[in-house]
């Protein structure tokens, strides 16, 4: 298993390099010019093209694309993601500060998603075509098709503005100390918005997996042993039906991170997703690259975690 893990990590390196090349190309070819922000029109007209060239040089944008890329790559291999164009700080320090916030938000979102999806999926499968099946299936269908920004704004409208129960934005009100209830109140709405898609998908997976499992021969065997229906379902059936869900968990990591971009922007949540969006709009190339590389690494790690979890929950799977 250790050997397999190492092999997978080594295999991921070329993949990450290719992703970085593509990302670098796309953001540099995208319309917009970061130098525009730094150009003072009055100075530009007075000092002429030298002034603009100087700014370009200062940002390192005067060199050809491939040279810039290799410079960037060389620095990254030494652990240096460069400096943000606009915030006079290193990309690393910006991201390190924001990453835990995104991770916490994603975990809570996934937790909410699973806590709802697993029991609901089981109920749908066991009481197939019942009123509950229809209700949950409809919720799941809506959850999959709701646009995140609309859903987020609606929740803010109802629970923050109309009812005044929960804050509209941010991560905390109390900046001096960690107050659990303060944090909890802030995380509820963004976590629900971020978890909605995963909840809907997991509910469908759970329902399907459970339907598949309960008609297996070993479930009949379990009943013929005299086990109660509760043990048959919760032990024998659920343990098998959870296999695809656990595997899905690894794959949901990148989905959560990209979903976080919109959710964090709506709720002004200080995470890497919001930073990514801001960086893209302002053409802050180093920050965009750093951000996207985090997502790429998370994706690779996520699929590795998915594979490893698969072997943990299913004894039939062995990695050499």
């Amino acid at each position: 298993m250790l050997k397999y893990t190492l092999k997978r990590i080594l295999q991921a390196i070329p993949l990450l390099i290719i992703i970085s090349i593509l990302t670098y190309l796309i953001i540099n070819l995208a319309p917009g010019d970061p130098t525009a922000f730094f150009i003072n029109p009055e100075k530009a007209s007075r000092l002429g093209p030298d002034y603009v060239a100087n700014i370009k040089h200062h940002l390192g944008l005067d060199q050809p694309l491939h040279i810039r890329y290799f410079k960037w790559l060389g620095n990254v291999l030494r652990g240096d993601f460069g400096e943000s164009f606009f915030e006079q700080r290193s990309v690393m320090s910006i991201l390190w500060e924001a990453l835990p916030n995104t991770i916490i938000l994603s975990l809570v979102a996934e937790l909410i998603a699973l806590i709802v999806a697993i029991p609901a999926g089981i109920i749908c499968a066991l009481k197939r075509n019942s009123i509950w099946d229809y209700i949950f299936s409809t919720i799941s269908f809506i959850g999959m098709s709701l646009p995140t920004f609309w859903f987020g704004l609606m929740l803010i409208l109802v629970f923050s503005l109309k009812l005044g129960w929960l804050p509209t934005a941010g991560m905390r009100d109390n900046f001096d100390a960690f107050v659990f209830t303060d944090r909890l109140r802030h995380i509820i709405l963004p976590a629900i918005v971020l978890g909605m898609g995963g909840m809907a998908a997991n509910m469908r997976y759970m329902r399907g997996a459970m339907l598949e499992v309960i008609r297996q021969d070993y479930i009949r065997t379990a009943r013929s042993k005299g086990l109660s229906e509760k043990v048959v379902i919760v032990k024998h059936a659920l343990r098998n039906a959870l296999i695809p869900i656990v595997t899905m968990f690894g794959f949901s990591i990148p989905a959560l991170f990209s979903g976080a971009a919109i959710t964090e922007t709506i709720f002004a949540w200080p995470g890497v997703g919001r930073i990514a969006i801001e960086a893209v709009f302002s053409n802050d190339y180093p920050l965009v690259m750093g951000n996207f590389m985090i997502i790429a690494v998370m994706t690779v790690v996520g699929s590795l975690v998915a594979d490893l979890l698969y072997a943990v929950v299913d004894p039939r799977i062995k990695y050499e």
């Binding site: 021969d217 009949r220 065997t221 042993k225 299913d314 039939r316």
Partner: protein, 328 residues
């Protein structure tokens, strides 16, 4: 001798979208303590439904055991027990093994834990004792290196070995009755004989009765004391194994025996019964076998034949033996 299991007028119907399927339609037979009863018949005649009805494991919906059926086990009607009381019987006094050893064990639990589960549930053993007993059972069913296999997962065993595990699990609580639904059908021919021998051996050791469901008459000849022949949800003939093979009465039984290789010595061509099993949604009005029967008379197409008692433990459902006793 007193009866261990007495099934009386069992009717199990399935309410499907296309209509009502009378999978088991008024079946009666009994099993005496320690004996092996063979239940034979073509595919779809209701053998499996009869067996899962006995344990009250018919999936509901769509299945339902109808009013008026009785399944009397050791003097009590199982159909009158509560679900909790019924659970004390399953896996304990009546246990079951199935046709598909490859899929009948739960893939995510260790073999030993799956055997121990019944011991923890019914025998009140603690974990260590249950594990010991599980190893002992594995040894009993002839699994090599039981101390190791007890911690293995099912996928590492062959079909034959898995069926041995199923037998170990079924016999762990010393049941009075073992229901074996085609226990060897899915196995290689050589392994089939081993599993049958093992079952015959062990049932004597633990003194259990066996309901052996099969469509292989060779298996019946080898293992059974008495035989029940089923056709389209009904028992058509019943008798001790000797009379059934030597002197079959019902034309269906005669046909089954003829289609059996080497049973009727010296015959090189097999006669299979012409025609197909009737659609359970659209059964003939009279005898259900009449459309395929070479001895069918007018009355056979009009009325359903009743059961005729031919002798001690010997009955047949056919107008050839009693023309008056027709039931509408």
């Amino acid at each position: 001798m007193e009866k261990l299991l007495d099934i009386r007028n069992l009717r199990t119907y399935f309410y499907t979208e296309d209509g009502v399927v009378p999978a088991v339609d008024g079946v009666s037979f009994y099993i005496k303590p320690g004996e092996t009863l063979g239940v034979v018949g073509e595919s779809g005649c209701g053998k499996s439904v009869t067996s899962i009805s006995t344990l009250r494991l018919v999936p509901n919906p769509p299945g339902k055991i109808m009013e008026g059926s009785e399944i009397i086990f050791e003097g009590t009607d199982l159909l009158k027990l509560s679900e909790a009381e019924m659970r004390k019987i399953r896996g304990n006094k009546i246990s079951m093994i199935f046709q598909e050893p490859m899929t009948s064990l739960n893939p995510v639990f260790r073999i030993g834990d799956q055997i121990a589960e019944v011991l923890l549930l019914h025998q009140g053993l603690n974990k260590a004792e249950a594990r010991e007993k599980a190893i002992e059972m594995l040894k009993l069913v002839g699994i090599p290196r039981p101390e190791k296999v007890v911690d293995d997962y099912p996928h590492s065993l062959s079909g034959g070995m898995r069926q041995r595990v199923m037998i170990a699990m079924a016999l762990a609580c010393n049941p009075r009755l073992l229901i074996a639904d085609e226990p060897t059908t899915a196995l290689d021919v050589t392994v089939q004989a081993q599993i049958l021998d093992l079952m015959n051996d062990l049932k004597k050791k633990v003194n259990a009765a066996v309901m052996l469901i099969t469509h292989n008459l060779g298996v019946v000849a080898e293992s059974c004391d008495r035989v029940v022949v089923m056709y389209a949800g009904k028992v058509v003939e019943e008798g001790d194994v000797y009379s059934i093979f030597e002197d079959p009465k019902h034309p269906y039984t005669v046909g089954l025996l003829k289609s059996m290789p080497s049973a009727v010595g010296g015959q090189d061509k097999l006669d299979s019964i012409p025609g197909v099993v009737p659609n359970p949604l659209n059964l003939p009005k009279g005898c259900r076998f009449a459309p395929r029967c070479n001895k069918a008379m007018d009355i056979c197409r009009e009325k359903q034949p009743g059961l005729t008692v031919l002798g001690e433990e010997r009955t047949v459902r056919c107008f050839l033996y009693n023309r008056e006793d027709g039931v509408k």
